[in-house]
């Protein structure tokens, strides 16, 4: 299964999706998986190969995130 990136806020999820788009990294907006949290927010599903470059970009843009490898 593809890894999932979790965010504290909707704002960070929106900013993260935009950064993926801008950097030609494919991602899918999904509900936060129930086995991770009872959270009602959104998360990003991403290809494993893109994980390292995109998290570098997130860190550079001060986007708080956690990675969940399924």
């Amino acid at each position: 299964m593809k890894p999932v990136i979790l965010f504290k806020t909707t704002r960070d999820a929106v900013r993260a999706q935009r950064l993926c788009k801008r950097n030609d990294i494919s991602c899918k907006v999904i509900p936060v998986p129930r086995d991770i949290s009872s959270e009602c927010g959104m998360a990003l599903e991403i290809d494993k190969n893109d994980l390292y470059p995109i998290t570098e970009i997130f860190i550079k843009n001060s986007i708080n995130h956690d990675i969940y490898n399924r």
Binding site: K8, T10, V14, R15, Q17, M42
Partner: protein, 370 residues
């Protein structure tokens, strides 16, 4: 002809994209902010976040993460003033404050042992920054400035006031100035600000927000669901969720985005406006209330007539010329006391970018005929 001169109450007309964006959201797009992950909800969330980014240039800040949405400037000012834990201290305000500030302050005075004084000023209410030292106390915790008066349009010299205030935090009420004046929250080193979306920014009612330089200093006013930390009864401590409980006015915020992305080119110049003020000043039956210096003049002014009350004058202007104005105290009794027009009030005229020189000529001829 544009006969609507009540833009300090709410702007009209608005860019056509305001209603287009809103009707598109309501009729076709829909979706809530956060909470869900399907594309409709995500796109609605993107709109709200795009607005937050768009507002940066209007507020003069590089950090959109310090902008939080409220339903208007009044809710914003209440959030700030009741969230600061002010008690047993002294506050300074401008002499032209609106009741959106004065009523919360009055409550704080009664319940939290707050005292307040007014900043030194000239006869038009413009603050004299060189004299601020004389009113500062060791207990002064906050300075509140109504950036642009909703009565006579005076624009306060914020940068000088901040420089003269040392480390005392400054709260700016941008209700009248946002969209009309240059605002530089970062360069002026402003601590707190509140703005509305439906006046100079030309958006719909029910939109606005606050800016907080250091969010650790303000507790939320409203508690509730945020779509985050949903397993907890506690409000999130992180931003923007800390200040944005409950479903936001997505339709309104989308409309405000439409306004900001489609700013109209002004149909008159500042010089045209000052020329209008000069001509009105020369009408013998009228007393005009405006800034002494035209460089500090925002697009609002008031008048009184030697024979008619302000309410009679407003009615005549509408009945004879269909000119829409607001008469009375404009929710700003302090400003009227400062200007010597309390309790009788004034007739207020507030322009928008949509007024032309022809509209000014029409207004002038109506005022001359009174």
């Amino acid at each position: 002809m544009n006969h609507y001169f009540d833009n300090a109450a709410t702007s009209f007309p608005k860019p056509k994209e305001v209603s287009l964006y809103m009707s598109d959201y309501i009729a076709k797009q829909g979706g809530t902010y956060g909470r869900s992950a399907y594309p409709r909800a995500f796109e609605a969330s993107v709109k709200v976040e795009s607005l937050r980014e768009e507002l940066m240039s209007f507020l003069g800040t590089k950090n959109s993460s310090q902008i939080f949405f409220t339903f208007n400037a009044t809710v914003g000012l209440n959030t700030l003033l009741f969230g600061m834990d002010l008690h047993d201290c002294h506050i300074l305000t401008s002499p032209l404050e609106h009741n959106a500030t004065m009523r919360p302050l009055s409550k704080l005075a009664k319940e939290k042992n707050i005292t307040f004084d007014y900043l030194p000023h000239g006869s038009d209410g413009k603050i004299d920054a060189s004299k601020i030292d004389s009113v500062l106390k060791s207990s002064t915790r906050l300075i509140i400035i109504n950036h642009q008066s909703n009565i006579n349009g005076v624009i306060q010299p914020v940068q000088k006031i901040k420089a003269a205030s040392g480390r005392i935090p400054v709260l700016l009420d941008l209700a009248q100035s946002a969209g009309h004046c240059d605002i530089e929250l970062d360069n002026w080193d402003i601590d707190f600000a509140a703005f509305t979306g439906h006046k100079g920014l030309l958006g719909p009612t029910g939109t606005g927000g606050i800016y907080i330089k250091d969010p650790d200093k303000i507790e939320p006013l409203i508690y509730g669901g945020t779509g985050s930390n949903s397993d907890s009864f506690e409000m999130p401590s992180f931003i923007p969720d800390k200040y944005e409980a409950g479903t936001p006015n997505v339709a309104g915020l989308t409309g405000l985005l439409g306004a900001l992305e489609n700013r109209p080119v002004p149909l008159h110049t500042h010089e045209d406006f000052i020329e209008l003020l000069d001509k009105i000043s020369s009408i013998p039956q009228l007393t005009i209330f405006k800034a002494k210096n035209s460089n500090n003049q925002g697009p609002v002014f008031s008048i009184n007539h030697c024979d008619y009350s302000c309410s009679e004058m407003a009615q005549i202007l509408y009945d004879k010329y269909m000119i829409e104005t607001r008469s009375g105290l404009h929710c700003a009794p302090l400003a009227h006391k400062t200007l010597g027009t309390f309790p009788s009030g004034t007739v207020r005229f507030a322009l928008s970018v949509y007024h032309t020189k022809d509209d000014f000529d029409y207004l002038l001829s109506a005022l001359r005929s009174l």
